[in-house]
């Protein structure tokens, strides 16, 4: 069943025709041209599809796009209107990612963390990104980059 939804996507008002069955992830990637959220497991486990919905990290694969009508979605693309954020810069400076598949999700989860808790402990960092699976780094470089950004 078709529906038209309106949302604020990375600061811009957007309107889009969707099927009720389409997930937010599918609509972002296939209809709104936003490619940073990835379809990893498609079951909420891996965190590659993470976006911020009204400021909170959520799994866009477990949300139907019709649910976000009238709401605010931020993806990785929305963080860097004025160049990389200090958090992103900390990752770049340390080459903290390898393949990059998990990167958008990790950055968004860490962005949420640093917003509510600007000076987290290592344990708090680990907890914040525990739902973002990374198969390259062993996590150490990710945790270091987030802690470094929090010290700046």
């Amino acid at each position: 069943m078709k529906k038209t939804i309106t949302l604020t996507l990375n600061g811009d008002a957007r309107s889009v025709d969707v099927e009720t069955t389409e997930t937010l992830l599918a609509v972002l990637r296939n209809k709104l041209g936003v490619k940073s959220p990835k379809c990893g497991c498609d079951q909420g486990e891996c965190g590659a599809c993470t976006v911020l919905l009204n400021g909170k990290s959520v799994r866009s694969c477990l949300i139907f796009s019709v649910e976000v009508d009238g709401q605010e979605v931020v993806t990785l693309e929305g963080l860097s209107h004025n160049g990389p954020t200090p958090l992103q810069q900390a990752f770049i400076d340390r080459s903290a990612f390898q393949c990059g598949y998990c990167a958008p999700g990790v950055i968004l989860s860490a962005t949420e963390l640093l917003t509510v808790n600007p000076h987290p402990t290592q344990t708090e960092v680990q907890e914040a990104i525990a739902g973002n699976l990374c198969r390259c780094t062993g996590y150490e470089s990710l945790i270091e980059a987030i802690l470094a950004a929090s010290r700046e």
Binding site: M1, K3, E19, T20, T21, T23, L25, A26, C39, D42, Q43, G44, E45, G47, T50, K56, S57, V58, R59, C61, L62, I63, F64, V66, E67, D69, S109, E112, L113, E127, A128, A130, G131, N132
Partner: protein
């Protein structure tokens, strides 16, 4: 990406409207809260509703407040909100500790406690905490409202006392009668982000009164009455713990599944019972033992 079967989407703004939709569509309607279970089931074709009734527009279901009967948690209250609530931290730390073991931030930001109760999987982490607090589930349908004690809520694996056309409006969690110390012990394959292989919730109260509940070691999350009777009125000592552990097999009926074997669950739950009891009692006595769930 998985594609769901067609459905009509409703976002009512009042309880009355949501209940009339549930009545109108009957068997073909499904309630959608955080969607962490339901969206997946629809995508996988396990659920094929004609009408999806999203309750997130009903603001009265967002209540998280203290009432004369205890803590009221509306149907839209998420695990993240429970973790962040000062009210919960001050009076129901066991609820907060158990909530913190559920999935990861991105799940807890969306998943509701009521959704977890309605999915009613045997491993639900919030089950033991709500059982030992003797929570009450509030439901409403066209026929009126109903209250169900949590001990009667879980009727089988993934089955609960929710009736057709009914919506859960919230949960009421009574304050324990006096001082209490709580502990949730979770065994997962790794610390976090995994359903429990076994779980134990304990509430130790004054006059050596104890409440004990299990999850993931039987078809439903449940209290352990014979263990509570054995402990009742007695100081917690090693021989008493041994006696309680000996009763564990008659209180549980674990299965072997992808996460753990029946033998393993039977063994580990006894260890968890001991650690949970000792921690709950030390918290009752105000020892500065750190709060938080115990992962083993």
């Amino acid at each position: 990406m998985a594609v769901a079967r067609e459905f009509e989407y409703f976002r009512p703004e009042t309880l009355e409207h949501s209940i009339s939709l549930l009545g109108e569509y009957g068997e073909n309607a499904r309630v959608l809260a955080g969607g962490t279970d339901m969206a997946l089931k629809i995508k996988q074709g396990v659920e094929t509703p004609k009408a999806v009734v999203d309750i997130k527009g009903i603001s009265e279901l967002e209540r998280l407040e203290s009432t004369d009967n205890g803590l009221h948690l509306g149907a839209l209250v998420t695990f993240s909100q429970v973790m962040a609530s000062g009210l919960v931290a001050a009076n129901f730390p066991l609820l907060r500790d158990a909530a913190a073991t559920v999935g990861s931030v991105g799940i807890r930001n969306r998943a509701t406690l009521v959704g977890s109760l309605c999915s009613a999987v045997p491993s639900l982490d919030i089950g033991p905490a709500l059982l030992v607090h003797e929570a009450v589930v509030l439901t409403r349908s066209a026929g009126g409202t109903r209250k169900t004690g949590i001990n009667k809520w879980f009727t089988g694996p993934k089955q609960c006392a929710l009736e057709p056309g009914e919506l859960v409006t919230g949960i009421v969690v009574p304050l324990p009668p006096g001082k209490a110390g709580g502990c949730y012990v979770k065994r997962g394959r790794y610390a976090g982000k995994d359903p429990a292989q076994a779980g134990v919730g304990i509430l130790a109260m004054e006059k050596n009164d104890y409440r004990v509940a299990f999850c993931a070691v039987g078809p439903v999350a449940k209290r352990a009455p014979s263990i509570e009777t054995c402990l009742h009125g007695q100081e917690l000592t090693d021989p008493l713990i041994k006696a309680a552990q000996a009763l564990v097999p008659q209180e549980i009926s674990p299965i072997t599944d992808i996460r753990a074997s029946k033998a393993y669950r039977t063994l580990i739950i006894k260890v968890m019972l001991e650690r949970g009891l000792k921690t709950a009692v030390s918290r009752l006595k105000g020892k500065p033992s750190a709060h938080g769930a115990i992962w083993i």
